[in-house]
């Protein structure tokens, strides 16, 4: 039983893979001061909670994806349309500063969505996601998307307990966003260049975008997508399904 949330996870023990090693040494000149040497991750508490969230998802056989991008690059729109291209069942945890508009849009499409309103917080953290994941019927799901607060900076620092990171950049934003926000794109497992139907109207070089992504993360895949181009949506759906299949294979071997 998880002591933090009361939710039942069989044989649950948080896997603390970090070793607390404290060394206390006395300063010979100042007997009233002691130096304590530690090497602690500053976001350790968040990381422990994130690992806990991952255990939850895995317990239900659900793979979780963290969707990150600047505001307005098409995260919600992508999710609204994804259901037309995959038979996999998915739910969404939505993060925004205010309003439940995004969750309402998804619910209107029959997608189970829970909205987190962060108030003034510029990112979701593992604790917020934990609160929301208990409101989702994970047993009936294959995938849970966490749609982070629209922001290319802060969400990159927080592990929310998902398995893979999806970063979107839309054509009107320009491909220079990749180079300008390296920490975010470094975290990406896949980069979706969205609104590609607008390519004829903007000076967006998909080749340049791909080479910038490669510089930061050679293993990241780049997919050009537009909800108006069915084949591109099929490619995105296929990527998620492939990831899900690989994820399920790892669950079976455990």
């Amino acid at each position: 039983m998880c002591k933090d949330c009361g939710c039942s996870i069989a044989g649950h023990e948080h896997s603390h893979d970090h070793h607390h090693h404290h060394e206390l040494s006395t300063n010979p000149q100042l007997n009233d001061k002691k130096t304590l040497s530690v090497i602690h991750k500053i976001l350790d508490k968040n990381d422990v909670e994130a690992a806990h969230n991952r255990e939850h998802f895995e317990e239900h056989g659900v793979m979780a994806f963290n969707l990150m991008s600047s505001p307005g690059s098409g995260k919600t729109t992508l999710l609204e349309h994804l259901g037309d291209y995959t038979s996999k069942k998915f739910c969404v945890i939505e993060g925004d500063l205010e309003t439940s508009r995004d969750a309402d849009r998804l619910k209107a499409k029959g997608i189970s969505a829970v909205q987190i309103q962060t108030g003034s917080a510029c990112h979701l953290d593992a604790f917020m996601v934990h609160g929301a994941l208990h409101q989702q019927p994970l047993d009936n799901m294959d995938i849970c998307f966490v749609e982070n607060v629209g922001n290319l900076v802060c969400p990159a620092s927080y592990d929310v307990g998902t398995h893979k990171n999806v970063v979107l950049v839309s054509v009107p934003e320009g491909e220079d966003k990749i180079e300008k926000y390296p920490v975010m794109f470094r975290k990406a497992d896949v980069v979706l260049i969205t609104k590609c139907d607008l390519l004829p109207y903007f000076d967006f070089s998909t080749e340049e975008a791909k080479s910038q992504v490669q510089k930061l993360n050679p293993n990241a895949k780049v997919i050009c997508v537009s909800i108006k181009e069915k084949e591109s949506m099929q490619e995105v759906a296929h990527w998620f399904e492939q990831e899900l299949a690989a994820f399920n294979a790892t669950l079976e071997t455990v």
């Binding site: 130096t35 990112h123 510089k215």
Partner: protein
């Protein structure tokens, strides 16, 4: 501006450690912030100055070591600190590299005050 939430996590961690070691206060907090950790060192400093107003970190000095991106090449074995933000070996151009520094956010040391 996520630096405020990161610093509040840092201060919470410092206070907990000080309590565990029965200290009366904290004189110095040493952290290591990777250049590519996603936090801005100047904002960390500002946030720390704001948050240390009360509690055990009151009056504590923040010592910050900004760690550059460091790569170990698995192909040629070179250890390098690249001039630009690129995750490839500047010596042999291989992308088969291990990041050995520059992405961390760590509390390294605390100077605790006793009677």
């Amino acid at each position: 501006m996520h630096e405020f939430s990161i610093v509040s996590a840092l201060i919470e961690q410092c206070e907990q450690l000080a309590l565990e070691h029965q200290a009366k206060g904290i004189a110095r907090v040493a952290v290591k912030i990777g250049a590519l950790s996603g936090v801005e060192p100047q904002l960390v400093k500002t946030a720390f100055d704001t948050f240390r107003e009360d509690g055990m970190c009151k009056g504590a000095e923040l010592e910050m070591d900004v760690a550059p991106l460091e790569l170990d090449c698995k192909a040629c074995g070179a250890h390098s600190i690249p001039d630009e933000i690129a995750y490839l070996c500047p010596v042999c151009q291989s992308r088969d590299i291990k990041v050995s520094g520059g992405e961390e956010m760590l509390l390294m040391q605390l100077e605790l005050i006793y009677d």
